[in-house]
Every structure is written in structure tokens, then in C-alpha cells.
């Protein structure tokens, strides 16, 4: 067992060197205040969804519906902002909508023992239909707009070359750093974090220790809804618009989030670093579009990277009990 862990760690380190090298190569020559701030902005929805995915999957529930959470909170955030005129009320409403969806998912998986992958797909499908549907009902079009977040500029620090972008950003960017650190702390330094870990690795042991596996999983899935909801609401409210054409403006970010936390080996900080890889790629891609390569081809880069990365990394070790139902012996 100990050997397995150390192999996992070594492999993780190796992956990290590769990833950081890739980030370095892809960003060198592009680093300026504009690219850093764009990378951070593009990171927000992916990072939050990934943090949510970590909590759910570490507790033993694979939440493949993250994309759906992003879509629903992106729309509700815009709608509530438009209705109340207050971006923060819109933001909180978006998060609540996503949490509600997570609650439905949790009940379906934990009470009715649904297959998690199929239930997660259902969450995606429902959101993919519901957001453009509601937008059309309310606005007569699949697209809607509202006010957006104003950036918070920290005087002085924001003038620094390169990293200045870190101090001149919309509130969700700052929230992201807080959430990454906070998630790491909760998972690694608190009792709840140990319960989440045990719930995914060895639910029997947790049960024997007198902690309800069901309750830990409920809280974790709800947390995944809250975090992904913050990501979705941030995505739409940074722009002040929701667009519901095709795959909607979320456009696969929820699925990239899953890859990101697999790549980060369920570690919030690792997940955040790989998020910046994808966001960096997207930034570079947007810059390339104005240049030599056809834009449609350039847009495949993030998706192809996901595939290559998955093929190279292979399956990171998922928690032992992920995807399984657990019935307490006491019931």
C-alpha cells in the first residue's frame, strides 16, 4: 500500500514537471499584463468547477454534470442581475440555482442509487435545455445580458509589470485564489477533509468510526454545486451576458474542469496549476486567431490538449469507492 502511494506521488511530480514546462513554453513570449489578466479571467470558471469536482469525487460521487452547473448558474446569474440591478444578488442567485441542481443530483444518486455517470449526463442535458429555454421565455432569445462586475484595482501593486494583472481584476479572480487555498486547507487540515477522503476511499471505515457516509457525501455534492455555481456565475457576470447558442457559452469548460482535477491528482493547488495551463492555452489561442492559423483549427487546441494529456497521464488513481453506492450496515 505504501509503495502504491509513493508511486502515485512520483508520477504526480513527473506530471507536474511536464505541465509546468508546457505552461512555460506556451506562455513565453506572450507574458504581459494583458495575457496574465486574460488567463486569470479564463481560469475562474474552470478552477471553481474543478474544486467542486474534487470535493464530490473525493467523497465517492463522480459529478460529471459540472458543465450543467456552470450553464445554469451562468444564466440565473444574468437573469437575477437584470431583475434586481445588483450584480452580487445575481451572483448569489446563480450559485443557489447550481446548488439546487446539485441537491437534485445528490438525491438521485444517494437516495435512489442512480448510476452517477448517467445522472450526471442528465444534469448536463437538463441545464443545456433549460437555460436557453428560460432565456427564450423571458428574453425572446437564447442570449441575454445584464450589468457586469467592475474590477477591483489595488493602487500601486496593479502597476507592477506582468504580475500587475493580479491586482487589477474582477472580484471572482480574488475569490478564486481564496477558494483554492481554502479548499486545500479544508481537504488536508480539517476533520471534514479526512471524512471526505475516507468516504471515497473506505466508506466502511468511516461508518465504523461513527460518521455518516451519506451525510459526508451530501455535503460534498452540495459543495460541488456551490463551487461550480460560483464558476458559472463568474463566467457570465464578468462579461455581463449569457449566450445560449449551441453548447452555450460554457462550451465544454465543465468537462475541461474534470480533466484538470484528474491531472492535479485531486489536489486543489495542482488542479489550479493545470487550470492555468488550459486558460493559458486559450489565451494564446485567442491571440493566434488574429494571426496565421484559421480560427476554427486553433479552437481545437484546448480539446486536443485534454485528449493528449489524458493519454499521457492515463488514469490517475480515482478514489477506491468512487462511483459505488454505500449502504450503512446499521440501517
Amino acid at each position: 500500500m505504501r509503495e502504491l502511494v509513493s508511486i502515485g506521488r512520483r508520477r504526480g511530480t513527473l506530471v507536474w514537471i511536464v505541465v509546468l514546462a508546457l505552461v512555460g513554453v506556451s506562455l513565453s513570449g506572450f507574458v504581459n499584463k494583458g495575457t496574465v489578466s486574460s488567463t486569470l479571467r479564463l481560469s475562474v470558471p474552470i478552477a471553481f468547477a474543478a474544486l467542486g469536482g474534487i470535493f464530490a469525487e473525493k467523497s465517492g460521487v463522480i459529478n460529471i454534470g459540472l458543465e450543467g452547473h456552470l450553464i445554469i448558474s451562468a444564466f440565473v446569474g444574468i437573469y437575477a442581475t437584470d431583475l434586481t440591478g445588483n450584480v452580487w444578488i445575481g451572483f448569489v442567485s446563480g450559485v443557489l440555482a447550481s446548488t439546487l441542481l446539485a441537491a437534485v443530483f445528490a438525491v438521485v444518486c444517494l437516495e435512489f442509487r442512480a448510476d452517477q455517470i448517467i445522472a450526471g449526463l442528465a444534469v448536463w442535458f437538463v441545464a443545456l435545455g433549460l437555460a436557453p429555454f428560460l432565456s427564450t421565455v423571458i428574453y425572446g432569445s437564447v442570449n441575454a445580458d445584464s450589468a457586469s462586475f467592475a474590477p477591483i484595482t489595488i493602487p500601486g501593486l496593479s502597476k507592477l509589470p506582468g504580475v500587475g494583472a493580479l491586482f487589477d481584476a474582477a472580484p471572482p479572480v480574488y475569490l478564486m485564489f481564496l477558494a483554492v487555498g481554502g479548499s486545500w486547507y479544508v481537504l488536508n487540515r480539517t476533520a471534514f477533509g479526512r471524512w471526505v477522503h475516507a468516504s471515497g476511499e473506505n466508506p466502511q471505515a468511516l461508518d465504523t468510526a461513527g460518521v455518516s457516509v451519506r451525510r459526508v457525501r451530501y455535503v460534498s455534492v452540495l459543495l460541488s454545486g456551490v463551487l461550480a455555481g460560483i464558476g458559472g456565475a463568474s463566467l457570465s457576470l464578468s462579461l455581463g451576458e449569457f449566450s445560449g447558442n449551441g453548447q452555450t457559452m460554457v462550451d465544454g469548460r465543465g468537462f475541461i474542469a474534470i480533466v484538470v482535477y484528474l491531472l492535479g491528482n485531486y489536489n486543489p493547488i495542482g488542479a489550479f496549476l493545470s487550470t492555468t495551463l488550459f486558460a493559458g492555452l486559450q489565451t494564446v489561442q485567442i491571440q493566434l486567431q488574429s494571426g496565421y492559423l484559421p480560427s476554427s483549427l486553433v479552437q481545437t487546441i484546448p480539446y486536443l490538449t485534454v485528449i493528449v494529456v489524458l493519454a499521457v497521464v492515463g488514469r490517475t488513481r480515482t478514489p477506491d469507492a468512487a462511483g459505488d453506492h454505500y449502504e450503512s450496515g446499521e440501517e
Binding site: V108, F112, A119, A122, V126, G129, T300, A311, R315
Partner: protein, 424 residues
């Protein structure tokens, strides 16, 4: 050693037979219940959204409250509109009036019916594609991308080949099977990519297939807009296929873009896949890998090769669906392919991943897709309602335990020797 192997095989066969027997009736009940529940939740959604929008006159009044949309009208348009309004308004058996049930002048070969059946044709193929993969334990979410790959390849292939082939019936006899074949091969190859990645690099197929959907759409956009764009067109599309390269229609008016040949081919594939799964060695390998991957390996199944075979076959069916879409419905390739692949997931899940079940679930979705067009033209209801229904159906089918619990509460509790555990 061989004794252990044969015992493992025996056990697997028993598991297979038991799960097949258990599921049939129960699946039909659960699927029906899921449909009814999705319609009910849909009705609530229609009422609620009818309060969120504004209208001058209420479409319906329930409990003294006016609503902008009436669920009864919406579902009537959805289901009967898709069949060309067959019901005679004077046929009211509950009121004791027994006029002929079908409306005078109604013909089953009407335009709405043609839309329903042509959607059904593609959905049978995408449904089979997803069902085959799910059955072998592989979550192929990539039928959409495989369909796009097949559609694009068959359109481009036919545009190249058509000038080399004589016109008339002879040309059609040569071109139609060729086009379908190109679509199947392209879809199969595109499906093989995640298959190989899963089998030999352990890459999660759920993620790779979803990513490949995005890649296929973007790549098709690139190829058509940069190399095969129809010069005088505002949308991204190729020039039309020559007449001989489209599937000839029978009975239905050719302008309705539906061919009974195509539907017959799709249904034929339903039979072929059923036979393949049930009576062939490959089918046995696929099913056992799906039920008990470790047991299957122990029983002598080459798991890696089975995974690749499963995704390749699944992709080929998706590609065939794409070829049908191009050769029957569109007559060329256009970007922005409808979500047949995702609807295929719903069809397969509703059918309990049974190829024969797909033949029943696909027409239902054909009706819903075609009814969405009727809703769009004849009511103020946004047609995206149909996408919500799709999600709700998947959600309800995903929770068989919910229906079992209701069943157990209403019917006297019966001991279940198999424990009720099942693949979904």
C-alpha cells in the same frame, strides 16, 4: 486451469441470462413511468414559464389563474402535430361518440410524418451506436462527433466520386452504398481513437469522446469553410450532392426528404446488432466485458481488443447515421449538425441499451423532434422545451430505484432473490 476458465464462463453466462430476464418487463415499466413523469414535470415547467413571460391573452386558465402557455395544447401539438394531426375531433369514445378515429383526408404519408420518420431513421442508428457501447461497459458520449465525421466524410467522398460514376439508376446503385460505407468507416475510425486511448493508455473515454465531439465540429467547420465552401452561400456548407448520390424516396414525396429505404436499412441494423450481441462470439465478449470486466478477462475475453471493437462499431453506427443525414435529409454537408448523438444517448438509455428497444424508443424521439418544429410554428412556446424533456427523461430513467420504491409501496412487498442490483 481450463477447469477454472470453463467455470468462470459458466458463471458469466448465468449472470448474463439472469440480468436479461430480469430487465425486460421491468425496463418497459420504468421507461414508461419515466416518460410519464417527464411529461408531468414538463407540464409544470410550461405552466411556470407561462407565468414568467408576458402575453395579452392567457392561453389557459387553471384554478382561476391565467397562464401564457397551455400544457395540454403544447403536448397535443408535440405528439399529434408530429403525426400530421390524425385524430378525428368527433372521435370521443369517453363521451360515447364513436366516429371514425382518423380525420378525413389524413394520410400517413404527410409532411409532418416524413419529418418524424426521417428523424427516427437517424435516431435508430445513433441510439444503436450508444446502446452497443454502453452494453459493453464503454460510455460513448462521442456518437455526436462520430456522426459529424461520418457525415463530412460521406459528403466529401461522394462529391469526389459522383463525377466518375454513370448517371441514372446505375449511378444510384453504386453511389448510395458507397456513401453509407464511407460514413460508417469514417465514424468507425473516429470512434476507434478513444477506443485505443482507453484500451492502451487508460484514458477515460467519457472525457475523450466529449472532447472529440468539440474537435469534430471545429474541424468540420475548418475543412468546409476553408476548402469546400459553396461559393455563393451565406452559411458554411458544401455544394449540393448530385441527384444520384441521395437516397431515393419511395411512397413519400421526394421533396419531403424521407426515404422508406433508409428507415428499412436503419431497422435492419437494429436486427443485425441484436443478433451480433446475442448470438456471436464478439457479442458475448462485448456483453460480458460490460457486465463484469474482471470476470470477462478471467474467462478469456481479450478486454483491450473488445474495448476497441466496441467503440469502433459504435462509431461506425454513428457515422452511418451521419451519412443518412447528409444523403437523405440535407443533400450536402452543413456545419451546425443537430444533436442526434446526444439524443442517441437518451434513446439508448430509454431502451435499456437493448437494440430491439431502440427500435421503439427512436420513433418516440422522432415524434418529439418533429413535434418541436410544429410547436415552434403553431404556438409561442420555445422549442427548446424538447431539450429539457430529453434531460428529464434521462434523469428519471437513471433512477430505477425510485420507481421500485414506489412499486414496493403500492404492491405488496415481494422478496427479490437477485437483490435487484443491475446495470443501468
Amino acid at each position: 486451469m481450463s477447469d477454472v476458465l470453463s467455470r468462470a464462463k459458466e458463471r458469466l453466462r448465468a449472470v448474463l441470462e439472469r440480468s436479461a430476464r430480469l430487465s425486460a418487463v421491468e425496463r418497459i415499466l420504468i421507461s414508461t413511468a419515466a416518460l410519464v413523469l417527464a411529461v408531468l414535470v414538463g407540464a409544470v415547467l410550461i405552466l411556470v414559464s407561462g407565468r414568467m413571460t408576458t402575453c395579452t391573452t392567457a392561453a389557459a386558465t387553471y384554478f382561476g389563474v391565467g397562464f401564457c402557455y397551455d400544457p395540454v395544447t403544447v403536448f397535443d401539438r408535440l405528439f399529434f402535430g408530429a403525426l400530421g394531426d390524425p385524430m378525428n375531433p368527433l372521435f370521443r369514445p369517453f363521451q360515447g361518440e364513436f366516429a371514425p378515429p382518423f380525420r378525413k383526408g389524413w394520410s400517413p404519408f404527410n409532411a409532418a410524418m416524413a419529418v418524424t420518420l426521417r428523424e427516427t431513421t437517424v435516431l435508430v442508428l445513433t441510439g444503436l451506436s450508444v446502446a452497443l457501447a454502453f452494453r459493453s461497459g464503454v460510455f460513448n458520449i462521442g456518437t455526436q462527433g462520430q456522426l459529424v465525421a461520418g457525415a463530412l466524410a460521406s459528403a466529401l467522398g461522394l462529391l469526389v466520386l459522383a463525377p466518375l460514376v454513370p448517371g441514372g439508376v446505375m449511378g444510384t446503385v453504386l453511389l448510395v452504398p458507397t456513401g453509407l460505407g464511407i460514413g460508417a468507416v469514417a465514424g468507425g475510425l473516429y470512434g476507434a481513437i478513444p477506443g485505443v486511448l482507453k484500451a492502451y493508455a487508460d484514458a477515460n473515454e467519457v472525457i475523450t469522446t466529449i472532447m472529440l465531439n468539440f474537435v469534430a465540429a471545429q474541424f468540420a467547420l475548418y475543412l468546409v469553410s476553408n476548402h469546400f465552401q459553396r461559393p455563393d452561400s451565406q452559411v458554411v456548407e458544401t455544394v449540393p450532392l448530385p441527384d444520384g448520390a441521395t437516397i431515393p424516396s419511395v411512397v413519400f414525396d421526394p421533396r419531403m426528404k424521407f426515404s422508406l429505404f433508409a428507415l428499412a436499412i436503419a431497422i435492419g441494423f437494429g436486427g443485425v446488432i441484436y443478433y451480433l450481441l446475442r448470438y456471436t462470439t464478439l457479442g458475448y465478449d462485448l456483453r460480458t466485458s460490460g457486465l463484469q470486466p474482471t470476470g470477462a478477462e478471467y474467462g478469456g475475453v481479450k478486454t483491450k481488443r473488445t474495448i476497441v471493437a466496441s467503440l469502433t462499431l459504435s462509431g461506425a453506427l454513428g457515422g452511418l447515421g451521419g451519412a443518412m443525414y447528409v444523403m437523405m435529409i440535407l443533400g450536402n454537408f452543413q456545419t451546425g449538425v443537430p444533436s442526434y448523438g446526444f439524443d442517441g444517448i437518451t434513446v439508448a438509455i430509454l431502451a435499456g441499451n437493448n437494440p430491439l428497444g431502440v427500435l421503439f424508443a427512436a420513433p418516440l424521439f422522432g415524434i418529439i423532434k418533429s413535434g418541436a418544429i410544429v410547436i415552434d410554428t403553431s404556438t409561442s412556446m420555445p422549442p427548446q422545451l424538447v431539450d429539457v424533456l430529453r434531460g428529464l427523461i434521462v434523469l428519471f430513467v437513471a433512477m430505477p430505484e425510485f420507481f421500485r420504491m414506489i412499486g414496493r409501496r403500492t404492491i405488496a412487498e415481494k422478496p427479490n432473490p437477485d437483490g435487484g442490483e443491475e446495470d443501468a
